[in-house]
């Protein structure tokens, strides 16, 4: 369980905006071990989006070293990064980003279509399995507009899981959801983390949500200001059961 999934050493990222240079990350270092549930906290402007892009292999640091599952990202080119995203990372976005007018099953199959080694039959089986693990086995052929926000996000999580990535990277994954649904999603995340040992990196600005993770890294002005284990980690399931049952849901 102590295998390092992420190794970040003194990462810097600078953007050139006309004549000015914006330093979004000013030397960030931390590691994430396999099986950890880490939240990255920070207000807007703290550099967490920039960090997320780098963690997700969508962007490369200007300086510093980033190893994802032992692979140094710095030396890779676009296509190699794409391949890495395909097999190592499962993205979950704030706005779900499901393909419209496409069934849940086909949405989940999507990452596997970009992985040529997987035959059609296995692709379907794995997609069904991923949807089952997010408790949507009954909704395989529903299109996104036939699903609630929480269900859509669960489809997105299934899509992140289907390639069996080393890390799930969630970007404000509860940002568009109401409290109850947010807790449901967090309960699902906790379940995936605890029962299946998935490594989860969850970017959020809500301290409320961060409390469900095992560890919180807080960013401010492009630097890590706090990196601590959550001693009193909350269980999303318990919070959920303590919520009054509202009949408007």
């Amino acid at each position: 369980m102590s295998k390092k999934i992420l190794e970040i050493q003194n990462i810097k990222r600078e953007f050139r905006m006309g004549t000015e240079t914006v330093r979004a990350l000013k030397g960030v270092s931390f590691d994430v071990n396999s099986g950890e549930f880490v939240t990255i906290m920070g207000s807007s402007g703290s550099g967490k989006t920039t960090l997320l892009n780098i963690l997700g292999c969508l962007d490369k640091p200007t300086d510093g070293k980033y190893l994802l599952d032992g692979v140094n990202i710095g030396g890779l080119e676009r296509n190699e990064l794409a391949r890495l995203r395909n097999i190592k990372i499962g993205f979950v976005f704030q706005s779900y980003n499901l393909l419209p007018r496409t069934s849940a099953l086909e949405n989940v199959e999507l990452p596997l279509l970009y992985n040529p080694g997987i035959p059609a039959k296995e692709r379907r089986e794995r997609a069904v399995h991923a949807l089952e693990s997010v408790k949507l086995a009954e909704r395989l052929n529903h299109t996104p507009n036939q699903l609630s926000g929480g269900q859509q996000q669960r489809v997105a999580i299934a899509r992140a899981l289907v390639n069996e990535p080393v890390m799930i990277l969630a970007d404000e994954a509860t940002g568009n959801l109401d409290s109850r649904t947010s807790y449901e999603i967090m309960a699902l995340m906790q379940e995936l983390n605890q029962q299946q040992g998935k490594t989860i990196v969850f970017v959020t600005h809500e301290a409320d949500i961060a409390a469900f993770s095992g560890r919180t890294v807080t960013l401010k002005d492009g630097k890590v200001i706090k990196d601590c284990q959550n001693d009193n980690k909350r269980s999303a399931k318990e919070v959920l059961s303590s919520l009054p049952v509202s009949d408007d849901y």
Partner: protein, 406 residues
């Protein structure tokens, strides 16, 4: 990358936007349909002109007097009379590549039968003329060489003349008609030949021995034309050269003199008509090609809109592992699927349209495989050509910006 997967991805993307895909296709459908229908009409009219010409006897060679230089002034073709019976005899004797020869001398006048009269042309020819023109008898018999020698006052009537002089439906055979006051005995009626390619009524004619016209009507020793049949179409050119040689000797022309006659073949006419209808085909194809290009621009336009509209989708695909080339190929395949499907529908539409034109407008059409193949290839190429640029634009998007695109 697995191309089958990409085709599947592209196909699903099109399925999500059926109406838009169809509307995009419409340009290609109309373009390809227009190419095929228009080329079919062009080819059909070309073929019908050729058929018409060969019914005139496509191995026919016509000799006419040519312009001549008189005191330094060049005169009109046919303004001089140079063809005589000696020429006919010389050709008959020496030429090896001809099967039939007939001089022709014609005059206009009024044909009269009792109270009915009709302005028409009398054509003096030899009995071989009917073979040269591939003309058959409907009724009665043709005149003979003996009638030619005797300058007999016998004649064959064209159908139009019969219709105008014998309105009661009685048989004209054996009746006496008058042409310019000269009485002729009708011995035969010619089969209907219809109008020629120039719209002239070929049946509005009276045919009689050439000697009769020369001696009794025109009082001349010259002919306006000599008609010759080559052995077959392929030998027409050889026959023309041979005839020219014989006539130059017969007319005692010096090597420096220009020909005082002109030898024309039907093939030249066929070629003239062919090139005319070729022009027609090119013109129609150009119009159709333009509509195909417009269809292609339609594809490009929609693909561009599509790339912009689906920016987030592209960002997502990149985030979950699509490489630039995958995105490029996806959009390219979408464009090709649109253009090929549109092409297939267009081919069907073009064939149906050509049939309908034939059925309802009675225009001859000829659907050529080459036009189908060509327009199909062109539209596949259109798909690649007009799909590439938007596809390339999509593939170069930055996934970070694409994902945040609103």
């Amino acid at each position: 990358m697995n191309v089958i997967n990409l085709v599947r991805i592209a196909f699903k993307a099109l399925q999500r936007n059926k109406l838009r895909a169809f509307l995009t296709m419409l340009g290609i459908i109309i373009g390809v349909g227009a190419v095929i229908a228009m080329v079919a009409i062009g080819q059909g009219s070309k073929k019908s002109i050729q058929d018409q010409l060969s019914s005139m006897g496509s191995n026919m060679i016509t000799i006419r007097p040519n312009s001549n230089v008189v005191a330094g002034a060049r005169l009109n073709a046919g303004s001089v009379q140079t063809l005589k019976i000696e020429d006919v005899k010389a050709i008959q004797k020496q030429a090896q590549y001809i099967s039939a020869i007939s001089p022709a001398s014609s005059a206009k006048g009024q044909a009269i039968n009792g109270a009915l009269n009709w302005p028409t042309t009398i054509q003096g020819v030899s009995p071989e003329y009917l073979d040269i023109r591939a003309w058959t008898m409907k009724d009665g018999v043709a005149f003979t060489d003996a009638d030619v020698t005797a300058a007999a006052k016998v004649c064959l009537l064209g159908q139009t003349v019969v219709n105008n002089l014998f309105t009661g439906g009685e048989s004209p055979i054996g009746k006496i008609i008058r042409f310019n006051k000269i009485p002729f005995r009708v011995i035969g009626v010619l089969a209907q030949k219809g109008e020629n390619a120039f719209g002239q009524d070929q049946d509005d004619i009276i045919i009689t021995p050439y000697t009769t016209v020369q001696e009794r009507i025109l009082s001349t020793v010259y002919f306006q034309n000599i008609y010759v049949s080559a052995l077959n179409e392929q030998m027409t050119d050889t026959a023309v050269a041979e005839i020219s040689q014989i006539l130059r000797v017969s007319h005692r022309l010096k090597p420096t003199d220009i020909d005082d006659f002109a030898v024309r073949t039907q093939r030249e006419l066929i070629n003239t008509f062919s090139s005319t209808s070729q022009l027609l085909t090119v013109l129609l194809t150009a119009i159709a090609g333009i509509s195909l290009v417009i269809g292609g621009i339609g594809i490009m336009n929609i693909m561009y809109v599509s790339v912009t509209e689906r920016t987030r989708e592209i960002g997502l695909r990149m985030a979950i592992g699509a490489r630039g080339i995958d995105i490029l190929l996806q959009f390219l395949i979408e464009a090709i699927l649109i253009s090929i499907t549109g092409g297939l529908i267009g081919v069907a539409l073009g064939i149906v349209a050509s049939r309908l034109v034939t059925i309802f407008l009675s225009w001859p059409t000829l659907i050529s495989e080459s036009s189908i193949l060509l327009s199909f290839l062109v539209c596949a190429f259109t798909g690649v050509f007009f799909g590439y640029y938007p596809a390339q634009k999509a593939s170069r998007l930055d996934p970070i910006e694409a994902l945040r695109y609103e």
